[in-house]
Symmetry: C2
Subunit: 219 residues, 2 copies
């Protein structure tokens, strides 16, 4: 029996690389995407769909998670809040943190995995080289994996293959796996041209610079 | 500072008793309800709203969780599947099990708790005297509590005060706390009159019979 994996894919670079890693490991991919009224929702979905074509995924599921915007408390969905710019070295958790978003996403992914008898879930969280969100830590992934297995009665493995990678290493991995980076979007606030100053743009730019390569979406 | 608790309330008897327990412990209640296109959605929401009035909750949140029906694989949302009747003693997990539903609900509850600075979550899961769903076990509650705290960076307590109670004890607790049981609904399949033969009706009837009292919704 071939292995089947639910891959959470935002349309961003990290989750794209993560899905290509899953494919390189031999998994058939159930691509799982969440719409939650985030500022760049349309652009992210467009990238997600392009990546699904690139990967020739076995199945594609788009979840309406508007409740995330309803709960609020984050600047990705609440446009009255300001996304911080040029402040990558702050130690606090920025307002782009969406309360327990990855916990919610992984729980829904677990439901999908159980429904379609997948044996793995892939999520592209990055911890060290990131904004410091608590739901991106290796410890969290381990604990939610334990919860998911007890709560479903299944034996699922949650893979977070980027969790210990730097942004440089992620770009290098993308190049190695021929990930079509032109089909990825990382900016938190713009859908036409990356702002270049939000955390996500800064981290992406850092990765490309340290990998001595050019970001195709800047061309 | 007064304590604030997110109470997951379906409109059923168990979660109603659970919310009254939270109130008796001094918590201000954020009542959290999920619509997921289940067969008895309208009736459950009507009961939820009545219970919120009874409890005079501090806040009421209704989440559109249609994605649960989209994922499917259960007879509560998929009307092409048959809900089993008069078969309470089977050892298998029945098709009324909604894949990882409580994991999804608790994860969204955790997001709400973090957003509104609640320090507790209440869920009315029952384990021993139940249909044997894996996401109702005490072990699961413990593991997801650990995941939620690591993933949010908060110190939340997930309370499942009914988990070890029998249905008889739940009815007795309801009477003790003056829970308006006429504002609760347990039947899986009907919205007008309880079918009396699904697991949920059978378990409820067993509770009232053993507690030597009459179910007000049968009057």
């Amino acid at each position: 029996m071939k292995n089947k994996a639910v891959c959470i894919m935002s349309g961003g670079m990290d989750s794209a690389v993560c899905a290509f890693i899953a494919q390189s490991m031999g998994y058939d991919i159930i691509a799982l995407h969440f719409d939650y009224q985030q500022r760049t929702m349309d652009k992210e979905k467009q990238c997600f769909n392009a990546l699904c074509d690139d990967l020739q995924v076995a199945q594609k599921i788009i979840i309406d998670a508007d409740f995330i915007a309803q709960i609020g408390g984050n600047s990705l969905t609440d446009t009255t809040l300001t996304i911080r710019e040029n402040e990558l070295n702050h130690q606090d958790i920025p307002n782009t943190y969406v309360p327990y978003r990855n916990g919610v996403f992984l729980s829904i992914a677990a439901a999908v995995a159980q429904r379609y008898q997948a044996n793995a879930i892939f999520i592209g969280v990055v911890y060290e080289d990131s904004s410091g969100y608590p739901d991106c830590s290796p410890d969290f992934i381990e604990k939610i994996n334990a919860a998911v297995n007890t709560g479903t009665g299944e034996d699922l493995t949650i893979h977070a293959p980027l969790v210990h990678l730097s942004k440089r290493e992620i770009v290098q991995k993308a190049l190695l796996l021929n990930v079509p980076l032109e089909h990825t979007w990382s900016c938190y606030q713009n859908q036409d041209k990356p702002c270049g100053v939000c955390d996500s743009c800064l981290l992406r730019a850092k990765g490309f610079a340290l990998a001595n390569t050019v970001d195709p979406i800047d061309l």
